[in-house]
Symmetry: D2
Subunit: 386 residues, 4 copies
Amino acid sequence: MRTGVWLVGARGSVATTSIVGALALRAGLTGSTGCVTELPAVRGPALPAFADLVFGGHDVVATPLAKRAEALAAAGVLPARLVAALPEELVAVEQELRPAPTGGSQADRAATMVRDLTEFQARHRLARVVVVNVAATEPAPDPHPAHADPAALHAALTGPDEVLPPSSLYAYAAVTAGCSYVDFTPSTGLRLPALTALAAHHRVPYAGHDGKTGETLLKSVLAPMFAMRNLHVRSWSGTNLLGGGDGATLADPAANAAKVRSKQRVLGETLGYLPQGDTRIDYVEDLGDFKTAWDLITFAGFLGTGMRLEFTWHGCDSALAAPLVLDLARLTAAAHAAGRSGPLTELAFFFKDPLGSGTHSLADQWTRLCEFAHLLHRGGTDDPRG
Amino acid sequence: MRTGVWLVGARGSVATTSIVGALALRAGLTGSTGCVTELPAVRGPALPAFADLVFGGHDVVATPLAKRAEALAAAGVLPARLVAALPEELVAVEQELRPAPTGGSQADRAATMVRDLTEFQARHRLARVVVVNVAATEPAPDPHPAHADPAALHAALTGPDEVLPPSSLYAYAAVTAGCSYVDFTPSTGLRLPALTALAAHHRVPYAGHDGKTGETLLKSVLAPMFAMRNLHVRSWSGTNLLGGGDGATLADPAANAAKVRSKQRVLGETLGYLPQGDTRIDYVEDLGDFKTAWDLITFAGFLGTGMRLEFTWHGCDSALAAPLVLDLARLTAAAHAAGRSGPLTELAFFFKDPLGSGTHSLADQWTRLCEFAHLLHRGGTDDPRG
Amino acid sequence: MRTGVWLVGARGSVATTSIVGALALRAGLTGSTGCVTELPAVRGPALPAFADLVFGGHDVVATPLAKRAEALAAAGVLPARLVAALPEELVAVEQELRPAPTGGSQADRAATMVRDLTEFQARHRLARVVVVNVAATEPAPDPHPAHADPAALHAALTGPDEVLPPSSLYAYAAVTAGCSYVDFTPSTGLRLPALTALAAHHRVPYAGHDGKTGETLLKSVLAPMFAMRNLHVRSWSGTNLLGGGDGATLADPAANAAKVRSKQRVLGETLGYLPQGDTRIDYVEDLGDFKTAWDLITFAGFLGTGMRLEFTWHGCDSALAAPLVLDLARLTAAAHAAGRSGPLTELAFFFKDPLGSGTHSLADQWTRLCEFAHLLHRGGTDDPRG
Amino acid sequence: MRTGVWLVGARGSVATTSIVGALALRAGLTGSTGCVTELPAVRGPALPAFADLVFGGHDVVATPLAKRAEALAAAGVLPARLVAALPEELVAVEQELRPAPTGGSQADRAATMVRDLTEFQARHRLARVVVVNVAATEPAPDPHPAHADPAALHAALTGPDEVLPPSSLYAYAAVTAGCSYVDFTPSTGLRLPALTALAAHHRVPYAGHDGKTGETLLKSVLAPMFAMRNLHVRSWSGTNLLGGGDGATLADPAANAAKVRSKQRVLGETLGYLPQGDTRIDYVEDLGDFKTAWDLITFAGFLGTGMRLEFTWHGCDSALAAPLVLDLARLTAAAHAAGRSGPLTELAFFFKDPLGSGTHSLADQWTRLCEFAHLLHRGGTDDPRG
Ligand SMILES: NC(=O)c1ccc[n+]([C@@H]2O[C@H](COP(=O)([O-])OP(=O)(O)OC[C@H]3O[C@@H](n4cnc5c(N)ncnc54)[C@H](O)[C@@H]3O)[C@@H](O)[C@H]2O)c1
Ligand SMILES: NC(=O)c1ccc[n+]([C@@H]2O[C@H](COP(=O)([O-])OP(=O)(O)OC[C@H]3O[C@@H](n4cnc5c(N)ncnc54)[C@H](O)[C@@H]3O)[C@@H](O)[C@H]2O)c1
Ligand SMILES: NC(=O)c1ccc[n+]([C@@H]2O[C@H](COP(=O)([O-])OP(=O)(O)OC[C@H]3O[C@@H](n4cnc5c(N)ncnc54)[C@H](O)[C@@H]3O)[C@@H](O)[C@H]2O)c1
Ligand SMILES: NC(=O)c1ccc[n+]([C@@H]2O[C@H](COP(=O)([O-])OP(=O)(O)OC[C@H]3O[C@@H](n4cnc5c(N)ncnc54)[C@H](O)[C@@H]3O)[C@@H](O)[C@H]2O)c1
Ligand code: NA
Ligand code: NA
C-alpha cells in the first residue's frame, strides 16, 4: 500500500524532520522513538509501513531540503550523521517538491495544486495521498459569505478576492483531488462549512487541529489529575519562549492569538471552569528549534489550603512534531483505505484543538486511539456517521 | 449507616486534619474540595455520609487534639476559623482517643487494641469500623518465622519477642475485631502472609499502601504521558524537601528507604524499564507541613533528540492526605458492607505502592475506581475472588 | 530628632505594612529583619530612631487603616497578632491621614497639600518631614511646555489643565513645603526640569525611582556575575505574576510599560549590551500580595557552549518594600539634616531605576550606600555639588 | 614570557577543554568568552599571552587527547570544528603528556614528577611552569605525623607508606621543582603544614581550592544579596545532578563529602549563621558533561513573612572551568614572575573553598582580584607577608 504524504510547508522544520526521520527509519538508521504508531497498542497491518511512504509537497521558499536538514542538524534537532547518510534519498524527495502556486485567481492556484497532487499520485502509483499542513501558522481569516457552501465557494474562487486563507485553499485542493487532509497547525484549514460539505461529498476523511507537542500535552495529563483529585485550580499561567521559524511567525500577534486560543481549550473543558491566568508566546531567537515553556498552577486543596505546581518544559518542537506527522499520515491513510470519511475525531490524542467535542484527557484520548487502531487492524472502522 | 473511623496515629497531622475536616464538612463550614468521593463519578448511596463518620484512635503521644489543630492552623494547614468553630466537637473526639497500648506481650497489647475497638463500636452503635493507619512510618521489620501463618503468629505473640512491627500489630487487632484496615503509610501493616490469611478468615477487606499525594501522584500521570508518546525517559531524579512530623521521621534512613522504594515502583512498572536517577527525601524543618518536590526528567524523542522536563510541587501534605483518608474510610466501609473481603485492589488510585499488580497509570486507576464505586452503588461488588 | 514620614498612598499595601511595622518595632514586638538601616555597616547616630518617626499621609480612598491591616494579615503579609496588639497606635496614625485633595485647579490642590504638610509638621513639632510616594503607579504623562521651568509651571498650575501627573503635584507640594521627597514608584514624581530646579531652589534632597524588591534585585546581582565571569548573556526573559492592588494597576498596559522600562535598565547598563527577551507583568488575582517571577537566562561560555539559568522568586512585595520605605525615610531625613539637597544618587541600592548614571551592580551600590551612611554618621555628607 | 602549564589529570574533561580552547584562541579560531583575564579590569602586560602558554601534564589513563576532544565535541562541550581544525597542535601537546608515575616509593614517584617537570621546562625554554591539579577528586587522606613538617615528610616518603594523597605528592613535586601550584579540585593538594612550609622555603606561590563554576558561584552572589538586604535565610537546600567523569568520581561518598564541604563554607561565612538544608551531589550519567543544580532557598522578610527563591542552573562544567584554568595559570605565573610566594589569597574569586579567611562575596572577591591584577601590571605585588 504505497501511500503519498504531501506536506504543505515542505521545507519547514517539522516537514524536514519528518522526511529525514522517515528516510532514516526506512534505511534502518534510527529507531522509532516518538512514533505512537509503533507502540504495541497501536501498530498493526492496516497502517502503511514507513517504507511505503512517499513524500512530496509545496512550499513558498526554495531552500534545498538537504540544506534545511543540515541547518537542523547544526541546531541539534537531527543527528548530522543521518543527513550525511541520506544524500540521494533527500535528492529524490527534493524532486517531488513544488513551489506554492502564485498568481491568477484562487481557482487557478487550486487547479495547480490539484494537478500537482494528481501527477504525484500517478507518477508513484500511490494507493492514496494524505495532505498534511505543516506550513507557517496564518492569522484567522476575515469571514466571507462564500465560506458557507460549496457552490458559492466554487463561484467566488474564480473572482479577484482572496476568499480562502492558504491553509483552506490547500484543503479545498486536497479534497477536490480525493486526498485526505490533516491540519497540524492552528490555521483554518478545513474548518469552514463549505469545505466540510465538500469533504463529505468527496468522501475523504480529515483530521486536526494543531499538533499537541509541549505545554498543552502536559495540560492534557495535569488538568485531569487535578480534576480526578477534586483539587480546585485557581490560576494557570503559562509562558512559552521559542525561537525557530515557528517562533518568528508567532511573534506576529494575530498568529499568536490563534495558537493561544487552541492552547486554552483543554483547561476549560477538562476542569469545567476556566482558572485565571494567560498563556503567552514570546520569540527568543537564541532558543532555536527548542522551546521552553514555564507554567505556574496555583490550586486549593482540602479546607482551602493553597498549593502550587510549576513546571519547565524544554522540548525540541520539531523532534516532537515530526513523528506525530508520520503517525497521522499512517492513521489517516488507513482510515481512508477503510472507507472512513469526514472528521476523524478519534485522532484527538494528537491535537491541541481537536475536531469534535470529546474529552481533552490524554488518557481518554489514548483509549479512543487504541480502539480506533484496533478496529482498523481488524478490518473496519466505526464511522460514527454510519 | 454510622461508621467508625479508627485512626492509628490519631494525634498526627494527617489524622488531625482528617478529623477537623470531617467535622467542618458535617457542620457545613467548608466544601469538599480534595474529596474524591464527592465527585459525580464516585459519589452515591453506598458510601456513608460525612455526618455518619465517628472518629476514634490510638496514639503514643497525648497532645490534646485541639492543641494539635491550633498548631496546624498556625502553620497554614487549616483555617484557624474552623478550629475555633468546633471546640465541642473536638472535645467529643478527644474522648474517643486511647493511648497506644504498651507493656506486656504483643498478645496483651493486641487484646487491649481489640477491646478499644469493640467498645468503640458498641458505644456508638456503629455498623462497622475502619481502622486507618496514619501513624509515623516504621522501618522495615526483621523477618520472623511466625510471619508465615496465623497459628505460628498467634503462638509467638504471647512470647517475649517483638514479633510484629506496630503497624502489623494494629492490623492484627483490627482483623481480629472484624474491622477493615487501610494502610495509608508505607509500613508493613497487613503485608505478611499470616495476616492476609487472617483477614481472609475473618472476611474483612483491606487496602494500602502509602497515600499518593505529591511527587508520585505526578509520576502517575507524567510517566504514562511519556509512554503513550513513545518518548524514552533517560533519567528521572527527584528531591523531596519536607518538614513536619513526617519529615522528621523520614530523616531516619531506614524509614526513608521504605518510602523511597514505594515511590519508585510507578516508573519501572509504567515505562517497562527503570530510568537512571534517585529519589531523595531531606528534612527541612522550616517547610513545616508543606513539602517541596523537585524532579528533573531527561528524555529522548525522535531521532534521539534530548529534552527535559522539570517540575516543582509545593504541596501541603496533610491537606492532600486528609480527604483521601476520608475517601478511603468511606469506600472501604462500603466494600465491607457489600461483603467484600481481602485486598481492595480497586483502590490503587489512592496509593503509591498499591496492593495487586495492576497499572500505575492514574487515569487507568481512576477508571477502575469509578467502576468499583458504580458497582457499590448498584448494590454489589465485583469481588475478584467472589 | 522627631521626623515626619508622609506617605502618598497611605492606605495602600506598602504604606500600611510600613506603618504597622514601624509601630511594632517601636513597641518592641518584632525584629528588624529586612531593614537595611539596621545592619552594622549602615546604622548609626545620624538616623532618626524608629521611635522618632511620626506617620501621616494622603490617599484617594478612605478604608480605615486598621481594616487594611487586618486584610493584609488575613493574606499572610503581616502577622495578625501585631495588628491586634496595636489598636490605639493605628487609630493615632489614622487621625493623621488626609484625603487626597480634589477639585479646583492644580494650584489649589497643591496649596491644600502644602497646608496638610505644614500643619502636620507643626502639630507634631517635627524637625523635618519626608514625603514618600507609595501611591498606585501612574501612566507616563503627556509632555507639557510648563514642565520646563518653575515660572512656567507656577503659572500653568492655576489654569484649567492637568499640567502635572499626581505624583509630580505631590512632589511640587513637598518641595514647596520644604520637605524632602522619595519616589518609591516608577511614576514621574520629581523627574521634570521644573521640579528639579525647584528642589534645588528650596535646597531639599530627593531620591527615587521604583523600589527594587524582586526580579530586578536578582538582576542586580546576577547580571554582574555574568559580566565578572565574561559569560555572554544571549537572552533574558522574565514573567512576573502578581495579584494585589499593585497587580491590578499594572494590568493597565500604560502603567505596565513604565514598570517594565525601569526593570530593563539594569541589564543593558551592567552587561554593556541588551540581550534578547522581554519582561512581562501579568495580573493573577489569586496570588494576592505575593508575586511569582520566573526568569530564563540563556548564556554562552567558553568556545560558545550554551547554558541556562532559570529562577523562580516567590516574594511578598509589601513585606519586601515596607522596610525599604522606612530605610529611605531615615536616610533621606538624615541627608536633609546634614544639609544635602538635590538627587541622592547614593541611594541607588534601593531602586530599580535610580537617579544618576552610576552602576547597577548591587554590590557596588552597597559600597556607595555604606560610604554615604558612614559620612552621615561622621557628621557630614559628600554633596557632589558641594 | 613563555610559560608552561602542567596539568595533573591532563586527559580529563577540564584539561582537554582548556588545551583545545587555548590552542583555538592562539589560532584565532574562537573568542575569549568565559576568560576573566581578558576583561578590561583584569587584562594587561603582566600576564603571559595565550600564545605563550605551553601545555604538558600527567594522567593515569592513556586515551589520546584528540580522542578525548572528539568525545567532548560529540557531547556538545566543544565545537567539533575546533577539534577538526587543530590536529597537529593536539599531537604536539600529546607528546608533552606523561603517565602518572607508579611503583616504587612515593619519593621515587616524586622524583619522576620533578624530572618530568624539569625536562618540560628545559625542552621548551620556559620562564616558569605552573602546575594545575585538575585530576579526579580524592577522598580526604588519613592524618599522618609526617604531614607536620618538611623534614619528617622527606624521610617518610622514602618508606613503604602512602604518606601523601596523590594531589599532595604532585604539589610536593611542583614545589620541589620550583613550580607554582594551583589546585582546581577540592583535594588536599598543598594544604598540609609540611607542604606550605616547603612552598615558603622554595619561594613559590600557590592557589586553591576547587574551581567555583556552578551552584557555589550563584551562592557567592545570592548569599550577599540576602545579607545586604537583611533578609533572614531559613533554609538553603541544593541538589546537583551531574554526569561525566567528575560525576562518576563524586558518586563515591568520600569524594562527595570533600566537595560538599567546600560548597557549604560560603553560606556560613557570608550570612554569619548556617541555614538549614543540605547540598547533595548525585550522578546521572545521561547528563554527560552538563550539570543541573537546583536550589531552594526559604527566607523571612520584614515581620517574619516567609518567601522563597529557587533556581535551576544548567551548566557545562568543563566549559565553565576551562577558561578559569587558563586565567589561574596566567595570574599565578605573573605573580611568580613578580616575586610573590605563598598563598595567593587574592585569587579567591575563582574558588569554592579559597585559601585565607577573606570574604565569600563574589563582588568583593572581584574587587580584590582587580586590585591584584592592577598591581601586577604596574610591576609589583602587594605580598601580604612581603
Ligand atoms: N513543531 C511543533 O511542535 C508544532 C506543534 C504544533 C503545530 N505546529 C505547527 O506546524 C507548523 C510548522 O512549524 P515549523 O516549526 O515547521 O515552522 P517553519 O517556519 O520552520 O516552517 C513553515 C514552512 O511553511 C512554509 N510556508 C509558509 N507559508 C506557506 C504557504 N502558503 N504554502 C506553503 N508553504 C508555506 C514556510 O516557507 C516554511 O518553510 C506551524 O504552523 C506550527 O505552528 C508545530
Ligand atoms: N501527608 C501525606 O501526604 C502522606 C502521604 C502518604 C503517607 N503518609 C504517611 O502518613 C503517616 C502520618 O503522617 P503525618 O504527617 O500525620 O505524621 P505525624 O508525625 O504528624 O503523625 C504521626 C503520628 O503517629 C503517632 N505514632 C507514632 N507511632 C505510633 C504508634 N506506634 N502507635 C500509634 N501512634 C503512633 C505519632 O505520635 C504521631 O502523632 C506517615 O507514616 C506518613 O508517611 C502521609
Ligand atoms: N511592593 C513592592 O515591592 C513595590 C516595589 C516597587 C514599587 N512599588 C510601588 O509602590 C506603589 C504602591 O504599591 P502597593 O502594593 O502598596 O499598591 P496599592 O494599590 O496597595 O496601594 C496604592 C495606594 O495608592 C492610593 N492612591 C492611588 N492614587 C492616589 C493618589 N492620586 N493620591 C493618593 N493616593 C493614591 C490607592 O488608593 C492605594 O491605597 C506602587 O506604585 C508600586 O508600583 C511597590
Ligand atoms: N568542571 C568543573 O566545573 C569543576 C569545578 C571545580 C572543580 N573541578 C574539579 O576538576 C577535576 C577534574 O574534573 P573533570 O571533569 O575534568 O574530571 P575527569 O574525570 O574528566 O578528569 C579527571 C582526570 O584525572 C585523571 N586522574 C585521576 N587520578 C589521577 C592521578 N592520580 N594522577 C593523574 N591524573 C589522574 C583521570 O584519569 C582523568 O583523566 C575534578 O577534581 C573536579 O572536581 C571541576
Ligand atoms: Na522551578
Ligand atoms: Na524551575
